[in-house]
Subunit: 398 residues, 2 copies
């Protein structure tokens, strides 16, 4: 299957202030997004793909001037791929507060003319959904065929299902959770403390100092990365292999001895070069805060009672960041609400990262599910694919 | 059961240079240790207790001037306790490179007269055993009734069984492993990078600058602490409870929202106040390097072929740092060598930390095992407890 090829990000400006869950307001902001495929005349074939911690709107394809910059879910989205862009109009959008083009901490705060830095308001998963809904409005999409995401992206899909029940026919939640555990929060706080205590962070105003809190970001990414991999896959990939230094013994120092150290430090350094420290803080807080059941005394069944979508959930057996148990909790709450739910627990060795990888059973599952989503879009009367009437629910929602 | 009461640390100086596994030598060093109970005339009732990452020689009792400074294994060691000091002569010794009195990085390097700092040689588990063996020599102990430890302390006990097979009758290895996994090493390297990148570390020479790399130590301890606790016990203890601020909502900032953040930051701060950063680096490297099977092409059975002791191993079901699987690997290798092995896998919710806690089944297991050790020491001819002949093996070893 070919990649979708060259894609071009777009930018949309929103001049209407966006009230946030915190009580703060963003007066004026832009969202960067990409689209793949063609919106049908019924505007019924749009799928929103929400991104996780360190990803962006660049879901699939490459850029003309960056042929190696392949979208983060290019194995999932494209012509003939599980989420088939010959059928669906797919939207990837960079979230508010991110560092890949949408308004974020490095952009000027209209109040001061200087970069927001730490003054950028804390945004939540629900705030992101509100911003995405405005983008959908602007694109004329009343109802998505599906809203989909993995990990933090799955939280956004789940939030769509409760905040805008009529605006999605399907909700696809992969390797995600309805709330972080104490251990999850603890790891996030380790990452935040590493960044906040880096003297180059300068209270979030490092832009003005011409520096980047690289050490903090590096440690943050290293600890995060460990939680994305299973113990097993780390054992298989690295084990206790020493780095090939031409010396097969220990170094007896604090440099690199083991391959796993080399790999993680490299990943940490790479991350520190492209990711914004304030964004990292914001995104980890959005993760920590997500808890739709909180407003219902912890009762997730009540929290999901207003949903109307059909659901696909998938989890991976060795994911210890958001374990299958987390998905099962969502499934149980949906089933208690008599929602249509498909759930797959995929036996994969890769840990949390599995949702981005080429597991054939996983991709086959998604392909089958999107075949069904597509089948539901086609009506016998409409005939040709992609030229169907908007479904009744969409009309009602409009 | 009463605590052993007031104890007094002792110090022993060793003027003979100690060659280390790295090829370096420590020319001259001291070890601080404590003893509890009475060495019998046969010198056969001594038990060496080896400490883990952040502990010390202060195993049991309190100090006259610090009545709240209770030894780290006071629930295990004392009169009438599982390791009964009315029967056994128990020794706790602070390891080389530590920061609790034995020669370490903050002590003057004889070569320069200034603190060793980062120049303190990297020491291994095996080096510690060599230093402990010299202490045993000096105390006139040819053979221990048992050498015992949990976690990193268990590694030392295991190393004793291969390096000095005749010098211990029993080897007690709790919540330990024969080698760290890639994930274990990765977490250790996160901790090291946090310390090494703290500008207050000054390449290990922070003593001269009158500062301490507190931020690095704090992050190191936070990440370590998470790995000592099970996900379950963190969920039970903290869950998603918000810190009691009189405000039951989110703070929408980067201060403390959740109890678990407050707890970990507090633990991190406390640790940074008393623990030496260079010691932390050394101890994590000792953990990483320990791998007795390495010299035998990874074959642990071969590595343990020279052992002569009887073994007790214990692990805890929710310990994900050194999981039961790690202990089972050691048990399998010992059984393959036809050693006498007792193994218990204790169903406990507390994760790795369980080895320090008051689990009745765990303490009963150790009590029963030490009853057996004691029973073996008594010979029908000798009569009164603690006045037995040295066992034959001890005489041979001498």
């Amino acid at each position: 299957m070919a990649s979708i090829g060259i894609v071009t990000p777009q930018r949309m400006h929103f001049a209407t202030p966006l009230p946030l869950q915190s009580g703060a307001t963003i007066s004026d902001y832009s969202l960067v997004y990409e689209t793949y495929g063609t919106l049908n005349t019924a505007r019924s074939n749009a799928v929103l793909v929400c991104h996780a911690l360190n990803a962006s709107h660049h879901v699939a394809g490459v850029y003309a001037d960056q042929p190696k910059n392949v979208g983060w879910w290019d194995n999932m989205v494209g012509p003939g791929k599980p989420l088939d862009t010959d059928r669906f109009f797919v939207i990837g959008v960079n979230n508010l507060g991110s560092c890949f083009g949408s308004t974020g901490p490095m952009d000027p705060d209209p109040a001061t003319g200087k970069p927001y830095g730490a003054a950028f308001p804390v945004v939540t998963v629900e705030d992101w959904v509100q911003a995405q809904a405005r983008l959908a409005d602007a694109l004329g999409i009343v109802q998505f065929a599906a809203v989909m995401g993995g990990s933090l992206g799955g939280m956004q899909a789940l939030a769509w299902s409760t905040l805008y029940p009529k605006r999605l026919r399907h909700c696809v939640v992969i390797a995600s959770t309805a709330k972080l555990s104490a251990q999850n929060i603890a790891f996030n706080d380790v990452a935040r403390q590493a960044i906040l205590s880096d003297p180059d962070f300068h209270g979030g105003d490092f832009y003005a100092h011409g520096v980047v809190p690289k050490s903090g970001l590096r440690v943050a990414r290293m600890v995060g990365h460990i939680t994305y991999l299973s113990d097993t896959v780390m054992a298989d990939k690295f084990g206790r292999k020493l780095r090939d230094t031409g010396n097969d013994g220990y170094q007896f120092g604090f440099g690199v001895d083991f391959e796993v150290e080399s790999y993680l430090r490299y990943q940490g350094d790479k991350f520190a070069q492209y990711f914004d420290a304030n964004t990292y803080l914001l995104v980890t807080k959005a993760l920590d805060y997500f808890d739709p059941a909180r407003a219902f005394g912890g009762d997730l069944t009540q929290a999901l009672a207003t949903t109307e979508a059909k659901f696909l959930l998938a989890s991976f057996s060795t994911d210890w960041r958001f374990s299958p148990e987390c998905s099962r909790e969502i499934v149980a709450a949906l089933v208690a609400n008599r929602r249509a739910v498909t759930y797959a627990e995929i036996d994969a060795p890769h840990g949390h990262d599995a949702f981005l990888l080429d597991d054939p059973r996983y991709l086959a599952l998604l392909r089958a599910y999107y075949d069904r989503v597509w089948g539901e879009l086609e009506t016998p009367a409409a005939g040709a694919a992609g030229r169907v009437e908007a479904p009744a629910a969409a009309k009602e929602a409009a």
